[in-house]
Symmetry: C5
Subunit: 95 residues, 5 copies
């Protein structure tokens, strides 16, 4: 799983029927120290995350293990909003 910051939203009206109802968010990847890691992913949201929030997301087939993404052509899902993380004995981020 990886850390990211929700930076935006995506709208797509013409899509696979199975994608209906999925909220799609743009997630900028963060490194272990909370800096931007240089990549992004578009992820389905299963926890009601909003722009600006720091989240944890899962990729691949694991992204289909939530109620909202089950059996859908979706390869990334936000499944937690991060409250805090610590690295090397220091708090990197606190909500």
């Amino acid at each position: 799983m990886n850390l990211g910051k929700v930076t935006g939203t995506l709208v797509a009206s013409r899509k696979e029927p199975l994608m209906e109802g999925l909220a799609l968010l743009v997630v900028r990847q963060l490194d272990e120290h909370g800096s931007e890691a240089g990549g992004y992913v578009v992820a389905a949201d299963s926890v009601g995350a909003g722009v600006g929030e720091v989240v944890l997301y899962a990729s691949g087939s694991s992204a289909r293990q939530t109620l909202s993404t089950k059996d859908k052509p979706c390869d990334a899902v936000i499944m937690a909003i991060v409250d805090q993380w610590d690295v090397d004995g220091e708090t990197v981020y606190v909500k």
Copy 2:
């Protein structure tokens, strides 16, 4: 999931029988800001995308979760045509 722009088409007459009927498109990867990210993928099309369109595609086993790709040796599928996306409060792309 990742953003891409459909840049071309691919024809293959000699193929695994399961690949029959799949439309194969060349998709150039875009970054979060709509710039070319330097990579590409060949994806099956499940939504009738055309050359020049900005699309969302899924990879891995998730690419087999559409009606057209189910149980096929296909690891990337276009499952949405993007209408608009916003990042950092600004509209990056609108169709």
Copy 3:
């Protein structure tokens, strides 16, 4: 899925019994414009590809979706021989 050129063959007599009968080919990865992309993969061949041919291959669990690779410890399969592909309105490759 990605484009590649078959550059060689691989022989392995001591192997997992499930690998028996699979033809293993070395595939050099090509970019969208047909140039060598700097990587390679060893793929099982499901279409009778030969050295020098330009092919399409699938990776991951999708590589097990052909008759010859089903349930085998194989993570890449050649499932099409490319006749032609076009990018940005120009023909990149024709067989």
Copy 4:
């Protein structure tokens, strides 16, 4: 599977119900020689690993093959604490 060092912990109270009860650890990736490889992953812990320990973790669908991660939206799991590893005839690490 890859080697890593547990460097931190992560707390997330708002999450997919399936994530309840999973201990989430920050794992800094190590290369073959025990040096930091420049990446990290957030992994579920199935063996009671603590900060500072050198561990082995699995990614992708394989991360869901432990009792604690089964059917969960989790794509990385720590499934072993490393006692020792040797490379090129020399001991790289011993606990």
Copy 5:
């Protein structure tokens, strides 16, 4: 699938019960020409490979398709010992 050279062994006594009995080897990745590619993986051994041998390994869910790795939290498996491979009409390696 990728080519690698077995460079070492790994011992872990505290591990997920499902990992019991798996031989874990350090595999240095080789490129198409037999040079070291700069990466490594820890793989389960399903063919009795030894340090110094050149092997073929599979990653992801395909790594769980051998008798010894089935349903285990293992994402890489050595499933063949390479006898020979040829690239561009030349023999790169012969055992």
